[in-house]
């Protein structure tokens, strides 16, 4: 990255004016200015937050509905021309498959013009100047998009073989990065730091330095907004190719385990792919032990005793901690270091052994995960009572199995959807595939106001379990040789 790192919105906060229209603007555009800390955000009675949310969602809808084709259509089908109540927002959530609703054949056939036209329906930006026809690969398509528009698209992790592309732009990435400290700040009656800044903290991340996956985009914007590029250590210094990531995912599907042959000769691949075979093998399985051991040793020495910011997928952190254990490295960093992790821990608890190893290596007392997803911005903190608390710019909805909106009363289990009010160049309404248990009324023992969610989160069930039918169901597995033949050209 050539750009210098930039400071976040750490300047003196402007307190809420009390004027609903101004505050509503801030809730969507700069929540960190409206609420200088998590303690202040969660001290506001939820009724007031809901009033602000209504004003903000109303304004977002008014602005975006005429400009974002897909929102216009969604609203048309829902028969909504203006938002009068928060409940109206529930009818304006995109289906969960929205960001992968393009045709797979476009990607496979290199039709990036159609992909761009598809993307154009989701954003306020005019993409007609994007020279998509010049792109031969996903990586090149991202470059073309970025050259001709402020879009900075991120994509999902490719496990299903079809990537979701979220039409986020620079303004949202900056906004998102600025709100990340909320998840690390104590609130209510909790002990702990009330203001968190990442300034001056070295950043350690056991993956690539950059790329278009949601994780890497978030890392990159966190560094741009908060960090010092000269104090960043990543396992691989370079950029993760999204094309390679997709290939790795499909190979993983086709081999059914995670070991690719060492020698690619049998697959008659292009020289370019042969050159990257070793990288591909690591992507399909996991980083080699040597590489990870070197990395763990290097960062533990370089930043020894410092308050660092570690950002990494949980399984890799656990592997790294194993290496540290092996090398006799423990309590390497200052006790107030900040750890952000996810992916692998979602839906299940951080495993005890791994947890002990990671905390021992890093020298921190506790690691808390947060709840979030690529499609909605913000990390929603786990509190001292182990509940997830939703940030104020996230308007939550719960639905029963028929898709009927559940009332905001008591404790309910249902499918989670939300409108992300920070999205301003695209519509932030999204129906997730998570089933959550939400307490709407009642107080969490951490002292935060507002609804909170139980820690265990499941996928919305489509129980196919042991149900046997003579009719074929979609096959998941690619054929290894076919996949490579297609990519080898």
């Amino acid at each position: 990255m050539n750009e210098p790192a930039e400071r976040g919105d750490e300047g003196s906060p402007v307190p809420p004016t009390g004027d609903k229209r101004d505050d509503a603007g801030l809730l969507g555009d700069d929540p960190r200015r409206l609420f200088p800390s998590a303690a202040e955000m969660f001290a506001v009675p939820y009724g007031e937050v809901a009033d602000l949310q209504l004003e903000t969602i109303r304004r977002r809808f008014e602005t975006l509905a005429p400009k974002v084709t897909m929102l216009g259509r969604l609203a048309g089908q829902a028969g909504i021309d203006q938002i009068k109540t928060l409940e109206d927002g529930a009818a304006l959530l995109y289906p969960s498959a929205v960001y992968k609703s393009y045709k797979l054949s476009w990607l496979e056939g290199g039709d990036f013009t159609s992909l761009t036209e598809w993307m154009g329906q989701f954003t306020t930006y005019d993409l007609s100047g994007v020279k998509a026809a010049r792109a031969d690969s996903l990586d090149e398509w991202f470059s073309e998009l970025e050259e001709a528009s402020p879009l900075r698209v991120c994509h999902s992790s490719a496990t299903s073989g079809k990537l979701s592309f979220v039409p986020r732009s620079e303004v949202e990435w900056r906004r998102r990065a600025a709100t990340i400290p909320f998840a690390d700040e104590a609130a209510g009656i909790e002990d702990g730091p009330r203001r968190v800044s990442y300034q001056g903290r070295p950043i350690i991340s056991p993956f690539y330095r950059s790329g278009h996956s949601a994780f890497l985009m978030s890392l990159d914007w966190n560094i741009r907004v908060h960090g010092d590029v000269s104090a960043v250590e990543t396992l691989y210094p370079g950029h993760l190719s999204s094309d390679l990531l997709v290939l790795a995912a499909r190979l993983k599907n086709s081999i059914g385990h995670d070991e690719l042959p060492r020698d690619p000769a049998q697959f008659s691949l292009s020289p370019a792919l042969i050159d990257r075979w070793a990288e591909l093998r690591e992507l399909v399985s996991r980083p080699t032990e040597d590489r990870l051991a070197d990395f763990v040793e290097a960062v533990s020495q370089r930043f020894a005793g410092k308050a660092v910011w570690v950002i990494g997928p949980w399984p890799t952190l656990v592997d790294a901690a194993g290496m540290a254990d092996h090398a006799g490295l423990s309590s390497c960093f200052r006790g107030d270091s900040i750890i952000h992790t996810g992916g692998g821990a979602k839906g299940r608890e951080l495993s005890d052994d791994g947890y002990a190893q990671v905390t021992r290596w890093l020298g921190v007392g506790e690691i808390r995960d947060s709840y979030g997803m690529s499609e909605l911005m913000g990390a929603n903190a786990t509190c001292s009572a182990g509940k997830y608390h939703l940030n104020a710019w996230t308007v939550p909805y719960l639905f029963d199995e028929d898709g009927t909106l559940l009332e905001r009363r008591g404790t309910q289990k249902g499918r989670f959807g939300a409108v992300d009010l920070m999205a301003s160049s695209y519509w932030g309404g999204y129906m997730s595939t998570d089933a959550v248990t939400m307490t709407w009324e009642g107080h969490c023992s951490c002292g935060r106001n507002g609804p909170f969610m139980e820690h265990s989160i499941e996928r919305v069930p489509d129980i196919a379990d042991d149900k046997v039918s003579c009719a074929a169901t979609p096959g998941l597995h690619d054929d290894l040789v076919k996949v490579l033949a297609q990519w080898g050209k």
């Binding site: 797979l104 199995e401 898709g403 379990d465 042991d466 149900k467 046997v468 074929a472």
Partner: protein, 477 residues
Amino acid sequence: MGEVSTFAVPFVVRGRIHDQATIEHNGAGFRFVTPDPLEVLPELPLASYAAMADLHELSMGDIIDFLAELGKRLNPDENPHMRQAFELSVFTSNLPERVLRTIYSEQLDFFFRPEVLADAVERRIGTAYLEGWVDELGPDGRSVRIRAYGARTAHVIAGNTPGVAAITIARNALTRGDAIIKTPRNDPMTAAAIAATMVDFAPDHPLTRHVSVLYWRGGDESIEPRIFSPATVDKIVAWGGSDAIKNAGHYVGPGVELIALDPKRSISLIGPDALDGGPGQTEAAHRLAADVGLFNQEGCVSPRVAYVSTEGVPDAGTRVRALANDVYGALGRLPPSYSAPVQRLPLALAEELKMAKLLGDPWVVGGDTTGGVVVSSNNETVEFAEQMACRHVNLVPTEDFDQVIEGITSTVQTVGVWPESLRLDLRHRLSLAGAQRVVDLGGATNPFGNQTLPQDGIEVLRRMCRWIVDEGEPDEN
């Protein structure tokens, strides 16, 4: 969450009903409880082949009479086991209650009708081979005799329709087999209810004592290696779901043979006359709706994709949509006891349909709990074609059928074709490509008489027998 209904699902093992419920299986709005399969495991294997002698003392007439008697006793209004099976199926099955009611009350006994059974045995095996030794002069002049014996067989059955349980019990009796039936989660009870009915009216009959029915969770490694072993069974008949087939395939080896009724898909091929805007369109729409909609598309015989030829048709896009509208209309007019709206679509399909409607591509008519037709914007199937269910079909305009036929593999079971002349033109090529059944459009879901036909390219009844040879001088008596 509302009230949870609880059902006790017994195991039936060799003429004994086990109903000590110790294991709970939870579903949405219901739970069912079963005995512990590990406890009945020791009773499942047959002591020796000699223990099948009793079956071979029955005549085919005895067997068919017994099955006919059984068939008469399956009406859930009179049979509490079957009533329980029906009530549980309302929760576990994807079929609407009304259609289930029709199957339990009017259809199950069809699988036991004596004339159909006799016909199936005669045509698929040859009754004489089941009744005794059949003289066959060997090509070298040797004197040989052939006889079909019963086999010890595990059945891993599908649950998309209760008929699978019925046909399994009938086939086992006709071939004088010894059956261990593993029921699926989408129909854990029907096979047990039929077996329990046998216990009620003939507890000591050999046909009763050679059937065991139990539920366990597919893939359970504390159970399956002990049942699917050459010490216990000779054959495994595995239906459906690729996990079920793969699990069963695991155990195939010397001494254990797999009869795989693989997961299948079905398609329709419709000639350009269906786009005539007149009688052709009306007829094709009705026929396609019947194939898609009868029994709510739960069987593998129902098409998920229908290709319609646009060859020489002007303004094809508009005409294909008109056909789609007619198909959707015809779906809504199917007799409700054979086809009905569902309460809820599978989540993944519902999401895809919602998305398609937002994008406007593919074009969708219906697309909700009443069913729908999804029209491809080009000559390719939509990406979610395999998820089509609950009376949804992907209508794909195509210039010629050659490419479609090229894409056919042995996963394609039934191909419904219209008009008849096209069926006659294509049937040979379709068969060579891998399809296993070619029918006039509208006949795919015909439930009557399929028992007497080969299934999935296999003669299942014949495969279920052990074919034994006796060589040497014949018995003069």
